[in-house]
């Protein structure tokens, strides 16, 4: 499998296979992840290769999947649990918030909770109701809980390996719209990526574009178009929403003086608001224009016929960037 051009979905599979191979304490669990290989095939072939004790089909109960993972993790197992869609993650919240995120803290390190909860998230695949939301902010608000979102095959591989090896609980959200969007070379070298660093995907001097997940694709496309117009964009994939690497974001906006944040999740109280607030707290006088946000609306995620109207697109980003560039106070 090594050195092949693979999709983000393949990379998720590859990282889990690597982790299962290198650490006998790694165990996968979830609904339909065994013989079926997961509804998106993220665990395809893993049960056949590693057996039913390492790749476990659970009863259909998300609270149970999360609670079980907490219990396993306190005993040194590293559970990598799948929630089939992020829209069904809510029954797991109590265990993530009240237990996983606090286990190390309340036992002063006697026990810890090295679990990963994976869930595909976001819109754009014409899925039914409840299958397309982006609710990462709800999780990123919780102290002690890491929230990680890859946006390319290489980062999916490296960040998922890091998440599984991490001694903290991690929610790993997979942007399913780009699960199979592109193939890139990913070396199966077992190298993890850092969980506390933003990734600067493109350097530029005029404006900083900050995004994560599937919207990184549109952001990069917008940056290409803007380059043709003579606007030099720095593009940053936040990747780890909690804890977030504000330092890289601040340094970039210090350099460019302008910033647009792009995310699929609703506008109100989104992570864009957090980043924007931090920028104005820390470096208001360096800003040459207000920080803009290009986001989903503050509405219910629509059924699929309307989802393209809801999701930000390249044009939305272009408009926001042009207005920000033209801003003169």
């Amino acid at each position: 499998m090594s050195d092949n051009a693979i999709t983000l979905l393949d990379a998720v599979n590859l990282a889990m296979a690597r982790a299962l191979d290198e650490d006998p304490n790694v165990v996968l669990l979830g609904e339909d992840i065994g013989a079926n290989g997961g509804v998106f095939r993220a665990t395809d072939g893993l049960q056949a290769r590693f057996g039913e004790r390492r790749v476990i089909d659970t009863p259909l109960a998300e609270t149970m999947i999360a609670g079980l993972s907490v219990g396993m993790a306190t005993q040194g197992i590293r559970p990598v649990a799948e929630i089939q869609f992020m829209g069904f993650i809510f029954p797991a919240f109590e265990h993530l918030v009240a237990h996983a995120a606090r286990m190390r803290h309340r036992t002063r390190g006697r026990l810890s909770c090295p679990m990963v909860l994976r869930a595909p998230f976001g819109g754009g695949i014409h899925a039914p109701e409840h299958h397309s939301e982006s609710t990462e902010t709800l999780l990123a608000h919780i102290p002690g809980l890491r929230v990680v979102i890859p946006s390319s095959p290489a980062r999916a591989y490296g960040l998922l390996l890091a998440a599984i090896r991490c001694d903290d609980p991690v929610v790993f959200l997979e942007p399913k719209r780009i699960y199979r969007a592109s193939k890139t070379l990913v070396e199966d070298n077992g190298e993890a990526l850092p969980l506390d660093t933003c990734f600067t995907l493109r350097e530029g001097n005029d404006i900083t574009l900050i995004s994560w997940g599937a919207m990184v694709q549109e952001t990069l496309m917008a940056a290409d178009r803007l380059a043709d117009e003579g606007v030099s964009c720095e593009v940053i994939d936040v990747a780890t929403l909690n804890p977030i690497d504000h330092a890289t974001l601040i340094a970039s906006v210090h350099k460019t003086g302008r910033c647009v944040i792009i995310h699929e999740a609703p506008h109100h109280g989104g992570m864009g608001a957090e980043i924007s607030a931090t920028l104005s707290e820390q470096m208001l006088t360096s800003l040459q224009a207000p920080v803009r946000r290009v986001t989903g609306d503050d509405t219910v995620m629509p059924y699929y016929r309307n989802e393209q109207l809801y999701l930000p697109d390249v044009d939305d980003i272009l408009i926001a960037v042009r207005e920000t560039m033209e801003y003169s106070g």
Partner: protein
């Protein structure tokens, strides 16, 4: 029409009547020394702890506290029957279990006294800290049991829940997966008849809570939770079955919450006084003491000596607790992550400065 039949019998085990007199001929294993004196001593210690904790709360020295009054036999017998390598997954009323599992009493005061370090109990090895949200511990117990099973350890996991907790999905999901995977878990329902102000009769129409196990395809039974001897038999057998790979058990222990829900609650608002009065007649500590007297294993002199000794133990624990230096604001940041993230480390500096400011203003930093 096709009918599928299943066995729907719930056994209730009792050996002693309310006054501690045998209901019938006692089994051979119950006679003689056995662990009964030890159980009784632990139950008295638990009650002394409870009395002290309530008094500390009432005098403003400790925060809100959940009393275990009436649950002493269940806690003491369950914890005493566990092997060191078994795993306890407790809830917030299991102080006596935690003591027996090795948690220093001073540490219990530290926890209920609102200190971040209260659940730092290296003595409890791999036992979980107590769960405050309702019923979540049942799923953690299943996760712990899964871990033991994956590693081929033949140990049992014991968890406890109240009667109200069995109305929650977590409990149903836990017994379901425990059955499906034949996990070595013993689920104890401390049915103390009240979930804050809601009586058992309003939780569920089923005549027993133990029968919920039948839906999960696992063994369910009732035991008199005020009868240490019956508990010893029923819980002991369930733990042995679990260790032997014979699957999980739900045990509904019938007891009575002789206290308010917590010190913040006033049960006189909703609970008939005569019901409480009747429950005191059945309470577990006096019942076991009467049995011990009856067996010639205990007498008034030993009673007085043990009451005095436990009182001293509790007072010494209070002194130990009060001698623990104040926590610093660093406790909020320590152990939140395996390594403190850079952004959080900056926040910790600000918090230290805040603590310094408040200390300089005078008084304790947290006031």
């Amino acid at each position: 029409m096709h009918t599928i039949s299943y066995q729907g019998e719930i056994r209730l085990t009792r050996y002693l009547n309310d006054r501690g007199t045998p209901l019938g001929e006692m089994p051979d294993w119950a006679l003689g020394e056995q662990p009964w004196v030890g159980y009784y001593q632990q139950m008295v210690l638990a009650r002394q702890f409870d009395t002290k904790a309530i008094s500390l709360q009432r005098t403003g020295q400790m925060g809100t506290y959940a009393s275990l009054l009436g649950g002493e036999a269940i806690d003491v017998v369950c914890a005493s029957l566990m092997q060191t390598e078994d795993v306890l997954v407790p809830y917030y009323r299991n102080h006596a279990m935690q003591m027996i599992r090795g948690m220093p009493i001073s540490q219990l005061f530290l926890y209920w006294g609102g200190d971040e370090r209260g659940s730092a109990t290296p003595e409890m090895k791999r036992d979980l800290p107590n769960a405050v949200p309702i019923a979540t511990q049942c799923l953690h117990a299943c996760g712990v049991a899964t871990a033991l099973k994956l590693r081929g350890e033949h140990q049992a996991v014991l968890t406890m829940i109240g009667d109200g907790g069995t109305s929650k999905g977590d409990f149903m999901e836990a017994i379901n997966v425990a059955g499906a995977w034949q996990l070595p878990v013993v689920f104890i329902i401390n049915n103390n008849q009240w979930a804050i102000s809601v009586p058992r009769s309003k939780q569920c129409i089923a005549p027993t809570l133990a029968q919920k196990a039948l839906g999960a395809g696992i063994r369910g039974e009732q035991v008199d939770g005020n009868d240490a001897i019956a508990l010893h038999e029923v819980v002991g057998q369930a733990l042995e079955r679990a260790r032997a790979g014979k699957g999980p058990t739900v045990i509904e222990a019938l007891s009575y919450r002789l206290s308010d829900h917590t010190t913040a609650d006033d049960a006189t608002r909703y609970r008939p006084a005569d019901e409480l009065k009747a429950a005191w007649v059945r309470e577990p500590v006096a019942r076991l003491r009467n049995w011990l007297h009856h067996q010639g294993l205990w007498d008034e002199a030993r009673e007085q000596a043990w009451q005095a000794e436990t009182k001293q133990l509790i007072e010494a624990a209070v002194a130990d607790w009060q001698a623990i230096p104040e926590q610093t604001v660093d406790e909020l940041y320590d152990d939140l992550y395996a390594e403190c993230p850079p952004g959080l480390a900056e926040q910790r500096e600000q918090a230290r400065a805040r603590q310094q400011r408040r200390v300089q203003k005078g008084g304790k930093h947290h006031e």
